[in-house]
């Protein structure tokens, strides 16, 4: 019987010839990711009796969630993490300003196809864009992996999503995944592995695939992957990734469900408050004035996202009273935005450009909402209070072009 991507990857990561759905295996990661939460994890690690991490080459830490630190407690956390990193000789450490963990990890060649990436962050699914199984685990488990170098996993069922057709103008990967989550619902892929197939996926670049895999987490999946192809290969070469072996699904692999969609019928989409699966076309929204437009996050803070927004904003000014916050996903993205002139266009249009990091996505700093305000954002979650304030706030999730067009109009509108 044929094997799915996740069955092959977990067999390899657990040193077995083959594994099947439902089995529990102990899988070793290629890398394990954490961020500012490393401060809490390292305390658990020490309580467990951990002295040194099992392999300093495989531990990745990026500071991104509270960057630059908004108060002394967060600054102290960073200090404790830096000390831990130095004591353990952890090489893949990216200090404040390098960018968001999910962007920095692949960008610096730490993700390769055919492996398991653990992450103490729910959007670890992002790394499936490079045909790796990015699997989120808890903080206690992360501490345990730091100590032992492995943790257990149940081999999940797989869902195959086949996307065919050509995207319409001003429709992006973000609109596709919003549309899919609307269909699948927030628990539609609970603990399953998603594989994205079809001509439309082949036509989407690695950046857009990261958007797809990143937001798949909102359908409850354990991991989401796009099989290896020429686009993956090119990205890996540019990122300076080490040697790898891609693991393709067998043609006769067994899927729990197969869904096929024609993406050419998808129009610009939004997720309305306060659930990610509360999805509708932008064109069906009532008149919704906005206070904040956020362009950034691990979902849509890449250079292609900034460029897509700049294309809409070029030579124009954002509406009076709107704050357009731009948080490039990494220092490399910001660097590119300078080189290509994208940053200049955004700045001229009236954007505030921040330090590469999570920004107000998690509502901890960097432009949280005031009471009663409404935001349109390229992020991945719109739960009540996610951007820092519960009372009367609303978050609409949309693509970079929709966010840019909305910033110009001062209300949520699709790009023309």
């Amino acid at each position: 019987m044929g094997k799915t991507m996740i069955e092959k990857i977990l067999a390899k990561a657990s040193g077995r010839a083959e594994v099947s759905v439902g089995e529990i295996v102990f899988a070793k990661p290629h890398m394990i990711l954490s961020h500012d939460n490393s401060a809490a994890i390292l305390k658990t690690f020490e309580k467990m009796g951990g002295k040194k991490v099992w392999d300093p080459e495989r531990v990745f830490i990026a500071l991104d969630h509270e960057v630059p630190p908004p108060d002394s407690k967060k600054a102290d956390n960073h200090k404790a993490i830096r000390k831990f990193v130095a004591d353990n000789g952890i090489k893949a450490f990216y200090d404040c300003g390098a960018g968001i963990c999910h962007q920095v990890l692949p960008e610096h060649g730490h993700v390769i196809p055919g492996v398991v990436i653990y992450g103490s962050d729910s959007h670890t699914t992002t790394h499936g864009a490079l045909a790796a199984a990015g699997i989120a685990i808890g903080r206690t488990e992360t501490a345990s992996v730091w100590a032992l170098g492995e943790t257990w996993l149940r081999v999940p069922e797989s869902i195959k999503i086949v996307l065919e057709g050509k995207l319409a103008r001003n429709v992006e990967a973000k609109d596709v995944i919003l549309y899919l989550i609307g269909r699948l619902t927030a628990e539609g892929a609970n603990y399953k592995s998603i594989e994205f197939h079809g001509s439309a996926v082949r036509g989407i670049d690695v950046g857009g695939r990261m958007t797809l895999c990143n937001m798949s987490a909102e359908a409850g999946c354990k991991c989401a992957m796009v099989p290896f192809d020429e686009r993956t290969k090119k990205y890996l070469a540019e990122a300076g990734a080490p040697k790898y072996e891609a693991l393709d699904p067998d043609p006769d692999a067994v899927y729990e469900k197969v869904y096929t969609y024609d993406v050419s019928t998808i129009s610009p989409m939004v997720a309305k408050p306060h659930n990610v699966d509360n999805v509708s076309p932008v064109s069906e929204l009532p008149d919704l004035p906005i206070d904040v437009a956020l362009l950034g996050t691990c979902t849509n803070g890449r250079i292609e996202d900034l460029e897509a927004a700049a294309r809409i904003l070029d030579g124009k000014k954002i509406a009076k009273g709107v704050r357009l916050l731009v948080y490039p996903a990494s220092r490399k993205v910001l660097d590119e935005a300078f080189k290509r002139g994208t940053a200049r266009i955004l700045l001229n249009a009236g954007a505030q450009i921040g330090i590469p990091a999570c920004g107000p996505c998690l509502g901890a700093y960097g432009g949280v909402l005031a009471t009663g305000e409404r935001a349109v954002s390229t992020a991945n979650r719109n739960f009540k209070g996610r951007m820092g304030t519960k009372e009367g706030t609303e978050i609409y999730l949309a693509s970079p072009v929709t966010v840019a067009a909305s910033a110009l109009a001062g209300r949520i509108v699709p790009a023309e």
């Binding site: 529990i24 467990m48 009796g49 206690t140 345990s144 100590a147 032992l148 257990w152 628990e187 609970n190």
Partner: protein, 171 residues
Amino acid sequence: MPIEGRVWILDDDDINTDVIYPGKYTYEMLSNEDMAKHALEDYDPGFAKTAQKGDMIVAGRNFGCGSSREQAVSTIQFAGVVAVIAASFSRLYYRNAINQALYCIECPEASAFARANKTALHHTNVKLDPEMGTLRIGDKEFSFKPLAGQAAEIFKAGGLAAYTKSKLATR
């Protein structure tokens, strides 16, 4: 080792983490005793008051769906529950349960039987042998796939934190 305990039959599917342990308590640092007081609060407010050590729960499909909060496992443990038998579990709940050494027994037949005979069987004693994979409810015997390999070892150690600690000590 077989264990025996009183059973609560919760005749519903999709009993979610919010009714097991309401979200409003998740960011409060409560003691174990105080956490126990809120077990299943929004499902059956009487549960926490009358639950006793060694109790078991039988439920329907997708038990523990919703958020990843680890407290949804610990709260019923602190209330005395040692095992949940269900037709199926949310995968995250199942994972948290193994890491915290709460028996989660997937057995659709036992779940259906207990729910069908709820009035007669509620609060009777059931016998569970997690290692052998057998379960006795009323006069009926059921079998299920017992935990194997390292997942069973995590269990034996009393959870993931203790497991890691003992593993490290032997290195």
